[in-house]
């Protein structure tokens, strides 16, 4: 069991306040309902979900750590392995593929020198292959660090985006 008071694991007051606001959405005896949000908030602050962080979140929500691990490993936007500062998740599903996502994928791989599921040596970028992001009308699309969507991608736009992400 992780020690929830450990400094390296402690979440900021801002993150804890965000988690508390999520907990308040659910019945008082159903804190576990907030685990998806809590893991998202923890990941946003710490970069990725190391096992001790998942346990910290489980402890905070008074749920078994294994149940929190199950969630962290089931949903594919959680990172249970280290990722670069900038995670680019490119949708390559059929509607995006029809609009050139595979060319964007090749461009990204060539530009960054890595394949899907890999991180650049300097720890700056991680490239991931994503599934449908529900934005097929604006294809091809990618997500930056799970929360910022970029649409109508062209190789030039990808270059600009990569340059912006220090």
């Amino acid at each position: 069991m992780a020690n929830p008071d450990s400094n390296t694991l402690r979440l900021s007051q801002e993150s804890l306040a965000l988690i508390d606001a999520e907990v308040a959405k659910y019945p008082a005896d159903r804190k576990q309902s907030a685990v998806m949000a809590a893991l998202r908030i923890a990941q946003t602050e710490k970069g990725w979900l190391k096992p001790e962080l998942v346990e910290y979140v489980a402890h905070y929500l008074e749920m078994p750590p294994i149940a929190a691990y199950e969630v962290a490993t089931f949903y594919n936007m959680y990172d249970t392995q280290p990722v670069g500062r900038h995670k680019i998740t490119l949708c390559t599903n059929l509607p995006c593929a029809l609009m050139g996502a595979n060319k964007i994928a090749e461009h990204l791989k060539q530009k960054l020198g890595i394949g899907f599921g890999e991180t650049t040596e300097d720890g700056r970028y991680t490239l991931k292959e994503g599934e449908c992001m529900g934005t097929c009308g604006d294809a091809p699309v990618c997500l930056h660090n799970n929360h910022a969507m970029h649409t109508h991608l062209t190789p030039e736009q990808v270059d600009e985006l990569l340059d912006e992400l220090k």
């Binding site: 159903r30 576990q32 309902s33 998202r40 449908c132 529900g134 009308g137 799970n146």
Partner: protein
């Protein structure tokens, strides 16, 4: 283009206005009047359900189940906790309509959910939003704050005893959570693995309590129906297919996007609205209702009208109304390879036929696409697909099998060509 008069636009009318998503815009055009009326005039749940039945509103999430009938399944007299849940977990490849409701017309959804809460006697609702559209989650949360401050959500609405609170729950990357019982598990803070049915959510739903779960567009259609009447909604569409519907048109068209048209609109008219096939290319095939719907060849599709019955008669499904358009440059083997990978990746792993079968299908299609197909592979694919469909807890198994079966049925010659010549047919390199 407002709620005040019947127009073909049920859910997308705010997009023509300034600040489409704001409460002020919505209220200025008649928003929340239906909620106020049903609550303050104490209109019975039975009367509202009867109106929905008259409207022939059918679920907009994929199954097309009659909404009035679904609502009537709820044990409304049950005195304990009950829930209203909205399924905005829009992850079916090709579907992007609920995103536009969330970002351009969130209050119509909130009003629809509050009316549902009133009918069912539920005091709490949750809207489960697809994890990848974080900006829409934030927009919806802001709309909830507006509605609470203005007294459209909360305790003792409009001076009555009716209380209804609504919250947003963000998914985080799992297609399976679009399945209603997986979605409920996910709200409970668990892996999104579907439950055995029965019991259905109406008797054993969120936290084991009676729950009504509907799609975003379905719930957002309810205020319009209460404002203008079920008959007016029915007349927008055609018998058994009431209303207008949002169609998400993606792929090889000049103007991809959402188009709200009356059910029964010819596919050719929808295609024209979307600018036609890109750059003068020729239409090859269409997946008319999201990636799980069987693919249809161009000729068949051009004879269809966009409604549940016509598409079903043609051998496919209207599904979520996601129309994926493919022109003659598409290699159907490669297209199916990508779809099969999706179902393999997204199978929750609970049922053996789906967990193993989706992997088999992907690997066999992958080897055909990469020049290593064997003559017996087509029979093998049909065999595996046939052993998944109908043998799993939820519909993901069928959703994985239907594309394989339909691609082989209509475009089997391309698979044979790949196996024999180890390459795409001429002109199909996409």
């Amino acid at each position: 283009m407002s709620l005040l008069k019947p127009t073909p636009q049920v859910c997308s009318w705010t997009q023509a206005l300034d600040n489409p998503r704001s409460l002020a815009t919505y209220v200025a055009h008649g928003g929340y009047q239906a909620l106020r009326r049903v609550i303050t005039e104490n209109i019975s749940g039975d009367a509202i359900i009867a109106e929905l039945k008259t409207s022939a509103l059918r679920g907009r999430g994929g199954a097309g189940f009659p909404t009035g009938l679904k609502w009537s399944f709820m044990p409304r007299a049950f005195a304990g906790d009950k829930y209203i849940v909205c399924n905005s977990d829009e992850g079916e490849p090709g579907t992007f309509k609920d995103r536009d409701i969330l970002r351009y017309n969130p209050h119509q959804l909130i009003e629809g959910m509050a009316i549902a809460g009133y009918v069912m006697g539920a005091r709490v609702g949750y809207n489960y939003i697809h994890g990848e559209i974080f900006d829409c989650y934030r927009i919806f949360e802001a709309a909830l704050r507006e509605a609470r401050e203005a007294g459209y959500l909360g305790d003792k609405l409009f001076g009555t005893d009716f209380c209804f609170q609504l919250h947003a729950h963000l998914g985080y990357g799992a297609y399976i959570c679009g399945e209603e019982t997986a979605l409920l598990e996910s709200i409970e803070g668990k892996k999104g693995q579907p439950r055995f049915k029965p019991p259905f959510p109406a008797s054993f739903g969120l936290y084991g309590k009676p729950t009504t779960i509907n799609n975003t567009e379905t719930l957002a259609s309810v205020p319009w129906i209460m404002q203008h009447g079920g008959q007016a909604f029915l007349e927008l569409g055609k018998p058994n297919n009431g209303g207008a519907k949002l169609f998400s048109v993606s792929g090889h068209v000049n103007k991809p996007g959402n188009y709200e048209v009356p059910l029964g609109t010819p596919f050719s008219a929808l295609l024209e609205m979307a600018g036609g096939v890109r750059n003068g290319h020729k239409l090859k095939a269409v997946i008319p209702g999201g990636s799980s719907a069987p693919v249809l060849p161009a000729d068949t599709m051009m004879d269809c009208t966009m409604d549940f019955d016509s598409i079903s008669k043609a051998g496919s499904m209207l599904g979520s109304g996601a129309v994926i358009v493919m022109d003659e440059t598409v290699c159907m083997v490669r297209a199916l390879e990508r779809l099969s990978y999706f179902y393999f990746e997204e199978s929750c792993g609970q049922c053996t036929p789906c967990r193993e079968g989706t992997g088999w299908m992907y690997r066999v299609i992958h080897r055909i696409e990469h020049g290593q197909g064997r003559p017996e592979d087509i029979d093998l694919l049909n065999s595996v697909a046939g052993r998944i469909g109908g043998h799993t807890i939820c519909a993901l198994g069928d959703a994985a099998a239907l594309p394989v079966q339909s691609f082989l049925k209509h475009f089997g010659h391309e698979f044979e060509h790949h196996i024999e010549h180890k390459c795409c047919m001429g002109g199909t390199e996409q």
